[in-house]
Homo-oligomer: 220 residues x 2
DNA sequence: TCTGTACAACAAGAACAA
DNA sequence: TTGTTCTTGTTGTACAGA
């Protein structure tokens, strides 16, 4: 009941995506429920999953929004929606229809706990080792690209990587700078169990490895 | 009413700061209400405002948490609480006690609210412009926080800001590093129309301004 | 299968009391 | 200044209809 009545005395605004009246911000942008859910459902899949059949310039409004998912999702991102506000799954409620569809394997780990997105991504990969590793690998790839990007940055700026004595090294400091702005990276660095290779990339040895790896890539 | 009853059937957890039972996450960390409010109230002031009288290693639990604010706040940060989940102030409701303690001067901005430095910077421009610009202002605030974060990073690392000759300065290079990972920042830097003040923050003068602004905030 | 609606769960801020 | 309670805002899930 908190939703219905109160909207009236709030400023009338409109969904930045499709233009219908909207009150609250979702994932960073004033938007309607439908667009919120649309983004929630599709943002992780990525724009790549959709292809616009009309040239990629579709107008998105209440009537047209369902026509082109590609342009709709694109607009969501362009308007500033971000996936970093996605939360993990919630405590599930007992369903009304008590029909249980999926039998949980006894061997597998905890059930019903709250999971972050990354957890979910990873758990998917772990369970079916066969196929489902793609998101995990993609995440890892992203992270590694990030790390290498930092290395390139430091190289280009001719900055030292590691600190001396007890001062924080430039590499670590830069990573921390990025962490503050990137929840996914932050989460990834926190939870070592999530890592494919069980090392922390902030360790000296890893840093050295990066340096050699990058040495030929760096463009002066 | 959603708060009381439901907590019972949830997983028992404990406040990462002080150890009392806690259910929900606040500012990124499972924590109790008191610690949530403590962080909310003090995080912006910064650790510098508190000084531990006992050497900076105080244990924080339910009984001791009120003794040393310095170590408590420190622990909040160390456990991963971040201020980036802070939201702007909400519409204030008329108080029950209608006794107004502070008469607000018509010319100056509102009094009595707690403000961060960045708030103060923004307030100047904020209230003059009518409403409607709030999303724009929020965006600007985020961007400025980002920029200041970069400045802090460089200051802490004792790095120079501007380059010599035609080499790219550290400040610009760092911003570019962030741009690659943050479409919103990238867009913002591209489109000057979004900017409240029509300058680019990558200009030398702005950089100098940042430096002086931050000079007293930096904790070595 | 995709979309939209309703509602519950969670998280943030404000008000109030001590 | 701290802790508690209340209110508001934001996110996820269930479910129904197209």
């Amino acid at each position: 009941m908190p939703n219905k009545a109160k909207k009236l005395n709030l400023d009338p605004q409109e969904c930045r995506i499709c233009g219908v009246p909207a009150v609250y911000s979702h994932f960073g942008v004033i938007s309607c429920q439908p667009c919120k859910m649309f983004f929630k459902r599709n943002a992780n899949i990525g724009q790549a999953a959709f292809i616009c059949k009309f040239g990629g310039e579709c107008e998105i409004n209440e009537n047209t929004r369902h026509i082109c998912s590609s342009c709709r999702l694109d607009k969501c991102f362009k308007c500033g929606m971000t996936i970093d506000k996605f939360q993990g799954s919630r405590q599930t409620k007992p369903k009304k229809n008590a029909l249980v569809k999926v039998q949980i394997q006894p061997g597998s780990a905890e059930v019903g706990e709250k999971k972050t997105n990354i957890d979910l991504m990873l758990i998917a990969g772990q369970r079916e080792v066969d196929q489902k590793r793609e998101p995990l690998l993609k995440l890892n790839e992203k992270i590694i690209i990030t790390l290498l990007d930092v290395v390139r940055f430091l190289s280009r700026q001719s900055l030292s990587f590691q600190g001396y004595g007890n001062s924080e090294g430039n590499f670590v400091a830069t990573i921390n700078l990025l962490r503050r702005r990137d929840p996914v990276l932050d989460q990834w660095l926190k939870e070592s169990s999530l890592r494919l290779f069980h090392v922390t990339y902030l360790h000296h040895d890893s840093q050295n490895e990066h340096i050699t790896l990058l040495s030929r890539v760096v463009i002066k």
